[in-house]
């Protein structure tokens, strides 16, 4: 309790709130621009933290992180171009809403769900971090494989009308993920002798190509036309009373995001897809998903921002960075002379609690900024497409180039753009391919490491409680969309017979 009060004293310094504000603004800009990610934003801002106090430095970087994860939803909703991989699920319904002239509603739902998920995650960090860290530590290779397998069953939820086509794209994504050095023996695979592919296919050029370039090519065909009445700028409101109808979905998705975020090596993208899938599974209006469902936007955004605070759980309690962004935060703490891990709670408890409570305020600031700016963001819908296309192309180029300072990544971006355009044109959804690229490395590495640990014994995947739970969930999640319509037909058949 004493440490908590000391933390409050450290937190309530005006400069801290200024850095939170600046961090969130920078993060939203980085997240909203296609190709620029929260990770790049945090890396860039790291150099500005030299000479700051530890709390001010962390608030600046956490502001960028949270703002970046939220910011990705803005371009996902307005131009069907997820700013970050974590916002790919948001574009499924967000863009459909924007096309119906309801961009304002989607943006407001997105910022509310993001802030709620972020606050939920921060409170979990404050209250149950040690317990969640213990569960996260139970994750070995078999659990990662089972989690990835469960994640892949989401393909059925994000495939639109044709699950078979979605599965083909998912497998293609998994194949793309096998390009480069294999994760166990380091042997090159399918790299065509190109040194640039030795490290595998970068996620950002693939994301930008599949979503942004294919959309740009598609929209270019009608860019010369004047805006129709439906396309004209309309800032649709979303009253708080309406938002409360989605609180159940938002709370559940925040909890999923928090749990997934606490597991090192996962992150907001997986959390977002899992939350979206669960929201669709439990919804009474499944047919709305993919066609403009506010539930879908709420679930995806609460899920990905729910992971932001939780990624700090293994970092602060155990000193384990869960992903690249958190590794940079670890670097920032080290620069400040702090060593993350159990001793941090005894040696610098005031700073740790200030950071945890500050995360709540960062999400509140993010909500205020997002809410105030939603009207201006929504105006992007009114920019003529023939002006927007070259602007987006330049941003896509620099975003993909900036990943490795490599022109090869921009060529990859164009290749994925072609794949995305042709696939969409013939009814093959691109989201499952992205899911395959994200989950492929986790699945393969988990499976092969798991079998190495067990000496080739496959029962290891069925004898560990967490692993078995995910495998059973995966089996149910895979089977339900296939047998669900059959069960529904039988029920309706019985109903007609009895009447």
């Amino acid at each position: 309790m004493e440490a908590l009060l000391e933390g409050l004293a450290v937190l309530f310094q005006p400069a801290n709130f200024l850095f939170m504000f600046v961090g969130v603004t920078v993060g939203i800009i980085f997240g909203a621009l296609p190709g620029l990610t929260a990770t790049l934003g945090v890396a860039v801002m790291l150099s500005f933290t030299f000479g700051m106090t530890p709390t001010a430095a962390m608030f600046l970087l956490l502001g960028v992180y949270c703002g970046g994860v939220y910011g990705g939803s803005i371009s996902a909703i307005l131009i069907n171009t997820p700013g970050t991989p974590a916002s790919a699920a948001t574009s499924l319904d967000g863009y459909a809403l924007a096309r119906k002239g309801r961009a304002g509603e989607a943006l407001r739902m997105s910022v509310f769900a993001s802030a709620f998920g972020g606050v939920f995650s921060a409170v979990a960090l404050l209250l149950i971090a040690p317990q969640l860290a213990r569960v996260a530590l139970e994750f070995g290779p078999p659990e990662y494989f089972a989690l990835a397998l469960f994640g892949l069953t989401i393909i059925a939820s994000v495939s639109g009308p044709s699950v078979l086509r979605g599965m083909i794209m998912g497998v293609l994504g998994l194949m793309v993920a096998t390009v480069g050095l294999d994760p166990i023996e380091g042997l090159p695979r399918m790299d065509f002798g190109l040194a640039e592919l030795a490290g595998g296919v970068e996620l950002i050029p693939a994301l930008v190509g599949l979503f942004a370039i294919s959309e740009i090519v598609s929209r270019s065909q009608v860019a010369h036309l004047e805006a129709t009445r439906e396309d004209e700028f309309v800032d649709t409101k979303l009253p708080f009373s309406t938002i409360t109808r989605y609180l159940k979905t938002i709370t559940k998705s925040s909890a999923i995001g928090t749990f997934i975020g606490a597991v090192p090596g996962t992150g907001p993208a997986i959390a977002s897809f899992l939350s979206y899938s669960e929201a669709k599974r439990s919804s009474r209006n499944k047919e709305e998903f993919g066609n403009g469902s506010l539930d879908g936007v709420a679930a995806a955004e609460a899920g990905n921002n729910g992971a932001t605070g939780a990624t700090l759980i293994p970092l602060l309690t155990l000193g384990i960075p869960g992903d690249i962004t958190v590794a940079i935060l670890l670097g920032a703490l080290t620069i400040q002379g702090l060593a993350p891990g159990p001793q941090l709670f005894t040696e610098s408890a005031d700073i740790v609690y200030a950071i945890m409570m500050g995360l709540i305020f960062i999400n509140v600031i993010m909500y205020i900024q997002g809410r105030l700016a939603a009207r201006w963001f929504a105006r992007v819908s009114s920019v003529p497409m023939n002006v927007l296309v070259p602007v987006l192309l330049v941003l896509c180029f620099v975003g993909s180039f900036a990943v490795n300072n490599s022109l090869f990544d921009t060529h990859l971006m164009m290749l994925f753009g072609l794949i995305g355009y042709v696939a969409t044109r013939f009814g093959f959804p691109v989201t499952p391919m992205l899911l395959g690229i994200v989950l492929g490395p986790i699945a393969e590495s988990g499976l092969r490491r798991g079998l190495l640990v067990s000496d080739g014994d496959w029962t290891i995947f069925f004898t560990r409680p967490i692993c078995l739970t995910f495998i059973v969930l995966a089996a149910i999640s895979f089977a339900l969309p296939l047998i669900g319509p059959y069960i529904a037909r039988r029920r309706s058949g019985r109903g007609e017979a009895s009447s």
Binding site: L164, M175, R189, Q221, V394, M414, R425, F426
Partner: protein, 116 residues
């Protein structure tokens, strides 16, 4: 289980799924085959060749930028794309040039990304 297992396993899965899709196409009309098209294209007022040209110029741009540098390549290629997309107002072209210069300034000075 060696490095070849996963790619081979996925290839078999892909072949089976593709086979399933072929069989499905023989069983009846494939209502799910129709992809998404922008509203204007479906209505017959779109220009599919514009999409092809924009993609071609963008692909060429990713090579050209390495040869002549970011600012000249971007200005030439984006101006060509704007012209194809029926932009005719001079101030929009001037705005695009200013945008390209601003992007280079932001990336090289603030984000420390050295553009080609």
């Amino acid at each position: 289980m060696g490095p070849a297992f996963f790619p081979k396993f996925l290839s078999i899965c892909l072949a089976l799924l593709a086979g399933g899709l072929i069989v499905k196409s023989f069983l009846g009309p494939d209502h799910e085959a129709g992809g998404t098209e922008p509203d204007g294209v479906a209505a017959g007022s779109g220009r599919p060749w514009a999409g092809v040209l924009v993609f071609g110029i963008a692909a060429a741009y990713t090579f050209l930028v390495g040869l002549v540098g970011f600012i000249p390549a971007t200005i030439v290629c984006m101006a060509a794309i704007m012209w194809i997309l029926s932009v005719r107002r001079w101030y929009l072209f001037a705005g695009m040039v200013a945008f390209v210069v601003a992007i280079q300034y932001v990336f090289e000075t603030l984000i420390y990304v050295q553009l080609p």
